[in-house]
């Protein structure tokens, strides 16, 4: 079997990388092997997606003796396998060339195949044990790669925060699965599906699942590790962590909430929608003020996860209300967004990796003019930026459109919380989408356009063949996913069908090129037709202009009000671009303040411009929590230093307490 072979090859590749790591070629070979394995898994996922009634199962005598290891690939798993392995293949192909630029590659390459293995196993797990073990493995493998460059202080801090948050996530998921298994202790998913949880149990499981999977996906306020860990890892790993691992987390959320839990009321949907909306807006607000390209992309991931969770929340709300058609629409929209995000976020991170390997810098303050030096990377990054800004005819717009259409159906529900909540969440979503476009105009414009702001940027060269082509393929995929949306939604509805019980036909009314959920009069979109007409109009415009006018062109210096300055520092910097946004949005939320100190005339001290901002979530939640935990730890630490008599006293007190409990219970 293709899948089994691919999965088994991954640990072998890891071993190979460890043994032969000293040679440079070994790393490229390992990544090439990962590429082949990912393609094999992709093909496997493709064969199992698509209207199969029986999903393949496998029970292996591994793990716990009374539980064994259950594996199953149903439509949902197959869909996510497609997404995951596509990103993995692109990142592996990229890393074939990129790993040569990494000084710490011997600490990265062995864990990469294991990371891929763990993610695929999470998707295929059919019992709680395999799920959680693979989940932890995924966290650990990625953590090892995050701290691979441990000489930097910020990477160590990122690793610490990541490890704590990953542990928190598992800490939430363990009791969730425990509650679902119940006192009988049957940890297989089949048993969990049919078990009735009761009111309290259901509430706790939903809460824990959202907190656990949500922290891994990056929901506010549990997102704080994302903008620290994703930039710290090498770029191909960041691409996978952002584009792919967050999807595995969302898979976990969908699996627990929609499949195993089964009795979720619409309140959870409303709450999830609100959390998603806040996540989207906060994520993009942080992103638009960042200078570091990879931190910007990490915050943008937070925003997109928020958008996907809005769709998911809507689906849960509709399903809890019994409106399965609309639930299917919302879920298809959410899954489409996840698929789109995994493609364009991987593309963007790989682009950032290319920029880092070509210039040695991550900060927007020293980049510029890279499009002319790196045309392939620049064009691919442009497609990614346009896709993430939800511009037609690319894929980002289609998922945005679908989520908006399902939001517009929200007030059909009779609950007043939904009726008021849906417009508010709609406003959040629209705001997040518009700010995302702003964010990426800024990132792309500062990094790739204009004049180079440093000699490193001025001397950048295009990256190697593998790196280039992995980005180009992803860019082409962005276009394809946008232009044939109906094919994609048909594929997604196979995954949606077992979760909502509805076979969702997205173009029932109008036929293939038109996406018309619900009905034709409701509102339709056709990426194919718009592209055709758009290209036709574009051609007509060029043709007419060249006929009516002249084709002459002359190169000259740019207009600068009569003061021709050749210094690239006179152009807009990333902070200049962000200033109106900082003033409009950051004044209250981030307490953004600017102080300008202008020396008196005659004084030759430099003028200074200082911007102070503070992170409300970190300062408001994490830092105090850290302090409290530290305080508790310090005080509990005293238990380490008791005398012998002290320890005996403790044992005696515990014994007396337990006897007291027994005595009291006997009386009652």
């Amino acid at each position: 079997m293709l899948i089994a072979g691919a999965l088994l090859s991954l640990p072998l590749l890891a071993l190979f990388a460890v043994l032969v790591g000293r040679r440079d070629a070994a790393h490229s070979i390992t990544y090439a092997g990962c590429f082949v394995a990912s393609i094999a898994l992709l093909a496997g996922g493709l064969t199992y997606l698509g209207g199969h009634d029986a999903s393949p199962r496998l029970v292996l005598p591994l793990g716990l003796p009374w539980l064994k290891a259950h594996f199953r690939i149903d439509n949902l798993s197959a869909l996510f396998m497609l997404m995951i392995n596509l990103g993995a293949a692109a990142a592996s192909a990229f890393a074939v060339g990129y790993s040569q630029h990494l000084p710490q590659r011997r600490r990265v390459t062995p864990f990469f195949p294991l990371f891929l293995l763990a993610m695929n196993l999470v998707l295929m797990a059919d019992d709680a044990f395999i799920f959680l073990v693979s989940w932890e493995f995924m966290s650990l493998a990625s953590w090892l790669m995050v701290v691979s460059d441990h000489t930097e202080e910020e990477n160590r801090k990122a690793g610490n925060v990541y490890l704590i948050m990953a542990a928190f996530g598992t800490f939430c998921l363990l009791p969730a699965f425990g509650l679902m298994a119940g006192p009988g202790g049957d940890f297989t998913f089949d048993a969990m599906r049919i078990k009735d949880l009761g009111l309290m149990g259901g509430f706790l499981v939903a809460l824990l699942a959202i907190m656990g999977a949500g922290s891994k996906a990056g929901l506010v306020p549990l997102h704080a590790w994302l903008p620290l860990a994703h930039p710290a890892a090498p770029s191909h790993v960041s691409a996978l962590m952002s584009g792919v691992m967050t999807k595995v987390a969302l898979y976990g959320m969908i699996r627990i909430l929609l499949d195993l839990h089964g009795t979720l009321s619409w309140h959870w949907g409303a709450g999830l929608m609100l959390v998603g909306g806040i996540t989207a807006v906060m994520g993009v607000l942080y992103a638009v003020l960042q200078d570091d390209l990879k931190t910007l992309l990490a915050y943008s991931t937070v925003e997109n996860i928020g958008v996907a969770v809005i769709g998911l929340g809507l689906a849960i709300a509709f399903k809890g209300d019994g409106q399965t058609e609309l639930a299917a629409l919302a879920l298809v929209a959410s899954l489409y967004h996840m698929a789109n995000h995994s493609v364009f976020k991987t593309l963007l991170f790989l682009g950032a990796g290319a920029v880092i390997s070509a210039t040695g810098h991550r900060s927007l303050t020293v980049l510029g003019g890279l499009l002319k030096r790196m045309p392939w990377t620049g064009t691919a990054f442009l497609v990614g930026a346009a896709a993430i800004s939800a511009l037609p005819p690319l894929n980002g717009f289609v998922s945005e459109w679908l989520i908006l259409q399902s939001l517009f159906k929200g007030p059909a529900m009779p609950h007043w919380a939904m009726k008021f909540g849906v417009p508010v969440v709609g406003a959040f979503l629209a705001l997040a989408a518009a700010l995302a476009a702003t964010c990426f105009v800024r990132a792309y414009g500062i990094a790739f356009l204009g004049r180079p702001r440093s000699t490193d940027a001025a001397q950048a060269t295009e990256v190697s063949f593998g790196m280039r082509w992995s980005m180009v393929v992803l860019a082409v995929l962005c276009v394809v996913l946008g232009v044939i949306p109906v094919t994609v939604t048909d594929a997604l509805s196979h995954a949606v069908q077992p979760l909502t019980g509805v076979q969702f036909a997205v173009s029932a009314d109008l036929g293939w090129p038109w996406l018309s959920p619900v009905s034709a009069t409701r509102g339709a979109y056709s990426g194919t037709i718009l592209v055709m007409f758009g290209l036709a109009l574009f051609a007509i415009a060029i043709f007419t202009v060249h006929r009516l006018g002249t084709q002459a062109i002359r190169r000259a210096d740019p207009w600068d009000c009569g003061h021709p300055e050749d210094i690239p520092q006179t152009q807009y910097t990333s902070q200049s671009f962000a200033q109106p946004l900082r003033r409009a949005f950051g004044h209250t939320i981030f307490q953004a303040r600017e102080t300008v100190v202008m020396p008196e005339p005659g004084d030759d001290a430099p003028a200074t411009h200082k911007v102070t901002m503070f992170d409300p979530i970190w300062s408001g939640l994490y830092a105090p929590l850290g302090r409290v935990i530290g305080w508790i730890a310090d005080h509990v630490n005293r238990l380490q230093y008791l005398t012998v008599r002290g320890y005996l006293l403790m044992m005696f007190l515990t014994l007396v307490f337990m006897l007291l409990v027994v005595a009291v219970r006997q009386q009652l």
């Binding site: 007043w416 008021f420 409009a584 004044h587 209250t588």
Partner: protein, 221 residues
């Protein structure tokens, strides 16, 4: 003309009163605040006049006249004169930024709407929408009083709150004139008191920022 159409027009005028309330929160200049208030009073007069026409209640024309003369013309002129006489700083000082004030305003409108929803539609005396609009105007007036530092803007907020009450009163069928007169007199008294207090506060502190009053509370050092 049919009842639905007359309700629609009434609601449209009521919405204009509400929008004027938002416009009060939006302004940064004191004279623009006074102009917005005059506009709100004008819209209120129009609402009263329309209700007088539709309900066939001639005493409401008096209400409209009072609103027009008193609140749209006299009060803004008086406050304008006060501002010039006292030499008050012409910019509006806010305790909460304008953007956030507007967001809270929208939330208050949503709250009013949620509150009136249990009332059955087209109830006998007052329609749901009129009640929601009036309550929103009242809440916005209160919001203005809370989020503005300058005493003049707080007076305007109080007047705007009062506009909301009158809007509710005219929208309900069968509200007698005595209510209008009593409200009008209470407004007059309030204006006089405020005017006196303005002069006293200004004398004392050289400013009309009410934060200065805090230091005279007595039990705090």
């Amino acid at each position: 003309m049919n009842q639905q159409f007359s309700y629609d027009i009434a609601h449209l005028i009521g919405a204009t009163v509400l929008m004027a309330g938002f416009s009060l929160l939006y302004q940064r200049r004191l004279f623009a605040v006074l102009n917005s208030f005059a506009f709100q009073a004008l819209a209120l007069a129009a609402a009263a006049a329309w209700q007088a026409h539709v309900q066939d209640a001639p005493h409401l024309y008096f209400t409209a006249a009072i609103a027009l003369l008193f609140k749209a013309i006299a009060v803004p002129f008086a406050l304008h004169w006060l501002v010039e006489r006292l030499g008050i700083h012409r910019a509006v000082e806010t305790a909460l930024s304008i953007g956030w004030t507007m967001i809270v305003g929208v939330a208050l409108v949503a709250l009013s709407i949620m509150l009136v929803l249990p009332v059955t539609a087209a109830a006998a005396a007052l329609t749901r929408e009129s009640l929601a609009l009036a309550m929103s105007v009242v809440l916005l007036g209160m919001l203005m009083m809370i989020t503005r530092r300058n005493a003049v803007t707080q007076v305007v907020g109080f007047m705007a709150l009062e506009n909301g009450l009158i809007l509710a009163a005219v929208s309900a069928k069968g509200m007698p004139l005595v209510v209008e007169i009593s409200i009008a007199f209470s407004v007059l008294v309030a204006m006089t008191l405020f005017g006196i207090f303005f002069f006293r506060i200004r004398e004392r502190f050289d400013s009309l920022d009410v934060a200065y009053l805090e230091s005279y509370r007595g039990d705090r050092s």
